[in-house]
């Protein structure tokens, strides 16, 4: 079956360039002109590889990559500007598999695509879990939203609260120490600022828990840290 490639670039002429070349090599091509559109398309149909530009309106390439990596290991090739080492490093750090620097030649593009697809085949199946549920709470990674059963709108988390909550989601069933959480969210300088974490956990519970004083999602383990109990413990 033909591999399907999602091309994300807001310049129509780049879309056309990638589309024309990829099709001659037997790929199916779907195009999106910004990150939000890309995530919607990616959620609604099987995609084997994403070619992702960085500078885009709505949601830029970095944020798109980061968000997709919350729930999927689909191969991603970033389209970066030449000489911008910072962008390349950042893309790879966010989980991109490779990068292609603009300007690029048609043959280089096709070679990179073949190489990344080959590696992806060897390594593993593409896994993609868009949703995560925990009790009455459901996380939609693609939209970066957290919903409570039966609610009309997502829980209004701030960006930091969402990132803190994701730490628990990705480590469900594991105890996370205050130092680990502080370092992960606020950086190493904050590792001893326990009060900041206390306030943040309290605020998270206010929004997350039906009864903030009897939490079921984020539980304190005295002297050790915090845990999101795995579902069988619940």
């Amino acid at each position: 079956m033909a591999k399907r490639i999602l091309v994300v670039d807001d310049e129509v002429r780049y879309q056309r360039l990638l589309d024309a070349n990829l099709r001659t090599d037997g790929y199916e091509v779907v195009a999106a002109s910004n990150g939000l559109e890309a995530i919607e398309i990616f959620s609604s149909q099987p995609i084997d590889l994403i070619l992702l530009d960085i500078m885009m309106p709505e949601l830029d390439g970095f944020k798109t990559c980061e968000r997709i990596r919350e729930y999927s290991n689909v191969p991603i090739i970033m389209l970066t500007a030449k000489g911008d080492e910072k962008d390349r490093v950042r893309g790879l750090d966010l989980g991109a598999d490779d990068y292609l620097t603009k300007p690029f030649s048609a043959t280089e593009l096709l070679a990179r695509v073949r190489a990344v697809l080959r590696r992806a085949q060897v390594s593993s199946e593409i896994t993609q879990v868009r949703y995560f549920t925990h009790g009455d709470i459901r996380v939609d990674f693609a939209r970066a939203e957290v919903w409570r059963d039966g609610a009309n709108e997502p829980i209004p988390f701030s960006a930091t609260e969402y990132r803190l909550f994701l730490q628990f989601v990705h480590n469900a069933g594991k105890i996370l120490s205050a130092e680990e959480l502080l370092t992960a969210i606020w950086g190493p300088d904050y590792r001893d600022e326990k009060e900041i974490l206390w306030v943040s956990i309290a605020r998270l519970r206010q929004k997350l828990e039906v009864e903030p004083h009897a939490p079921t999602h984020i539980i304190t383990r005295a002297g050790l840290g915090y845990i999101m109990p795995s579902d069988d413990e619940n």
Partner: protein
Amino acid sequence: MKLSDRALEYRFWQDAVYEKDWKNALDFLIESLRDELVFDNLAIYIIDENGKRSEIAYARAIGREKNAEADASWGEEIADKVMLKNEIVFDSPSEEESSSKRVANPYLAGMPLMASGKLIGILSLIRFGGPVYTQEDISVALLAAVVIAYIFEKRALQESIIALEKVQRQMRLQDDFVSTISHELRTPLGFIKGYSTTLLRDDTEWDEETRREFLTIIDEEADHLTGLIENILESARLQSQTFDMNFQPLRLDVLVRDIITRVHARYENFEIVFTNYSEKIIQGDNTRLAQVFENLFSNTVKYAPKSKIEISIKNEDGNLLKVSFSDSGAGISEEHLPFIFDRFYRVPDQPKKAGTGLGLFISKRIIEAHHGKIWAESDAKKGTRFIILLPTEQNN
């Protein structure tokens, strides 16, 4: 009844801390001070950066002898003494002098204003005809001096923030320019490279229609690149003042009509309404002025596509021609409007709208070289209006 020390301190401080504007803060403080202490004139001298000279920064005539105005003492002499001694100085006339000529022989008190470990200024209090300053007067005045020093220190900080922000903005524009320009140049280059290597692929045959499509893109992008490079060089020349103007008598309406014809050739569906009320002749450089209008048109194509353009040329008092060029697009927001003529400035959050932030800068320089003016007015509902004033030849 006198206020207790605490209540007085509170009253002196609250406005000083609360008010953003230093003059308001001082006005409130002086008002409160006047309730506690008798004085007729008050002057504040601030010492310059080298610590050598003092300049008057604030003065109020409040009490008796208001009419004496400039004739009355403002305590300059005592300010100089305070600067020398760096301590409180009093100067009282003899009984006899005092009663005979009140205005000419005032009771003076000079208080040093200290902040950040040094003398930053002097507070002078002037009483016409006494009474002599009491110990209590002095302690109230000293408290006022501390608050005044705080207010001026805050002013100095505010001023340096403004100065720093200006420098920072210029630096950011330079930085942005480097990244914008490299992105701008790389975009057409990327298409040229991408589409030409696509055509050169030896593992694929392209049909004639596709080949033409790709070659057209390559051709257009090469033109785009040329235009960008021209613009960058032009701005460099304008910046270094090494550009020549070729002035000759011309009719602006003829020039504008000419450009409209050209614009219509490129963008057929562009609606342009041109009204001319003047046939006066100006001294101008045809090519450069054409550049200004072409730039305005290309901005509209970019930022207000589908918008109608209205242009008018009118006579204006003082031998001037006034050109108005308006679109009905989304407008430019108030926070960006003051900067759009700055070199490299681009309204943020419009990724990939092609542009270098040079077009309006170049236009402004050209208009200024004609001894004219250009500015913009904008309204989110009505769109953007550029106005150009150009001097006409005196005898027509």
